[in-house]
Symmetry: none
Subunit: 197 residues, 4 copies
DNA sequence: TATGAATGAGGATTCATTCAT
DNA sequence: AATGAATGAATCCTCATTCAT
């Protein structure tokens, strides 16, 4: 059975199984055995590819994160105006994909765990920082620096909060409603700033 | 020589120990033995007062929740205008107490766990629903019903999001900054609605 | 089932089971499960009384050591002359009990292990040092200090070597033969020293 | 591109890695993967050359043993008198090489293990028997047969005991001191036997 | 010849829970 | 009311071994 180049396949397989398992039984009940069974491999194989359970968890969070990053980067690259760049960040983070319970529950489980596992905390901080920076930078095309920074905090807070409530609450508000609320939020604040000037 | 009122004392003792333990080692590593040791009682005692581990966890979340509810109710009772009632909800949910890592981390751990434990999910849904209702109701004094509902979603999302980012991110933004952002958010939207009229 | 004061009983029970297990299957194959099964208790109980496997092993070696120490002390106390004190040490260390394969194999397994486990190495060093000191001290009643020290090295070496060969070799020489060889060794050297003078 | 004579190289490589590993982490912790890693080969290769772990261990002990045998034979061949032959055996078994911790610890680990592994026990018995025979034979040139046999037991016991204490005890007595003690032992006993006659 | 993939059993340990006292 | 003894299942992980390439 041992074919060459299995590594990439097996890693992907195990990461997907980890996501599915956490989704179904929760973080605390996600044992290596359960994950391996779902992936259709023996539990010992995890050590072969990820050293230990923590290695697998870290790789899984990183995979989620990289996926979101790729989406964000693609949307940013296509945006031509400051406002379009702000919208790009919002669209990426509140896309239907991010509201898919399979992924959303896993993200949340990792956020809770990150507070006690350094390797996860590192990834989490990068996520948080990057969203803020992307928004700040885009908003600086529309507002003075300190106002841009402040509004970036508001936007990222609203993004995460709406996503959190949807994830916890069983779908309300959904992706579309969340994006609408964010557009409103932006419109209200940008109009106001303009009026001030 | 059973002392009177021992029950309340012991229950409080164990709930506090649960909070401290989750705060320090995380949800997954919070064993009954660890909690009992911290409370200075034997592990068997948990069964006596809470049936089993889940009972203790549920009681702990409920204690956190009741505390927040009491604070909210008190502030609402003191409010005299619709806007003051909205502010009361915001103040309660973004008070420095809610930013205390000892409590915040535990809340978050419970939110993540709630998705897989019905008894916790029930409390979580009540929390989410109640905040929305309180805000909706207050805002209906200022806006048409459907706009009030929508703004309530925004406000509660922003509350939870700012709190989440602060909890995960090590204190930024803090309680005061979060409340300022919410006041801004309200001002911007209420001005706009008024201008529309 | 849980009676008070079980601790001493259980500890003894588990230590005896450890000795029997190492005797029968060797150190490397002595799993906690095997030991617990032989003691008639569940594997989890080991943690209750000895923290972990190492704690049990350490307690076992210490029990062997204390037993030998008690025997040695009793014999030394009864000895009235320097030569009698030397003989006491020899008798204790080469008594039939020390040639009992059940104990001898376990001692040897521990000596081998001690080189890699600090907690065992400490006990081993005390054993080695104490035999040497007891012999040196007794011989100083018969010889000048530096000769006493040297002869003590020879006697303790011969004690351990004869015991080792008997343990490894299936009984040859036995306790009686070993003690005879040591008497000869002492006689030859003491005569010689006296003749020198 | 299979190189010629690869077999001997690989076998030697693996045996050396086994010795180093046992020396560093002890017998119980010496896994095949650890040994293979140190040898710079894959774990599967062990099966190729030694069938299984036990085969590798047996080959390692045999290598140690053959080395000692070669040294002993060479010294015996050079000896011209009975006493010189006795000294040859002592010199070989108490040479500085035998006090090198790298080898000494491994010998001891094997002795302990031999009591439970027949293939090792066989080698161990040959070692023990051969030393005794070599000494007996040489001493029969100086003493009556039954006295020669008895003294041979003493000498071999003292050899093993001094070596054991040095190995366990961190260097005391060392090779030179041990050989001196054995010379003394022989002198004292031979003088005495001669005087008796 | 040699590798790396893969297994599955077995290791120590921890855990929630139960129960006699 | 409260304890400490005890269990047995489940945890993660490591191991010797096998096999296709």
């Amino acid at each position: 059975m041992p074919k060459l180049g299995m590594e990439a396949v097996r890693r992907r397989q195990l990461i997907e199984a980890t996501i599915d398992t956490i989704h179904e039984v929760g973080f605390a009940a996600s044992s290596l055995q359960a994950i391996a069974r779902r992936a259709g491999v023996s539990p010992g194989l995890v050590a072969h590819y990820f050293d230990d359970k923590n290695g697998l968890l870290e790789a899984t969070l990183r995979a989620l994160f990289d996926d979101l990053t790729r989406d964000t980067v693609a949307r940013l690259r296509a945006a031509r105006t400051p406002r379009a760049r702000v919208d790009a960040v919002i669209e990426a983070n509140l896309s239907p994909r991010q509201f898919d319970p399979r992924l959303a529950k896993v993200w949340l489980a990792f956020w809770a765990q990150a507070m006690h596992v350094p390797s996860l905390a590192r990834i989490q901080r990068i996520y948080q920082r990057r969203m803020l920076d992307n928004l700040s930078h885009a908003l600086r095309g529309l507002l003075p620096a300190h106002r841009a920074r402040e509004l970036a905090h508001g936007v990222s807070g609203l993004i995460d909060g709406l996503w959190l409530r949807a994830t916890l609450g069983g779908g309300q508000p959904d992706s579309a409603a969340a994006r609408r609320l964010l557009r409103d939020y932006l419109d209200a604040h940008l109009e106001r700033e303009t009026a001030d000037a």
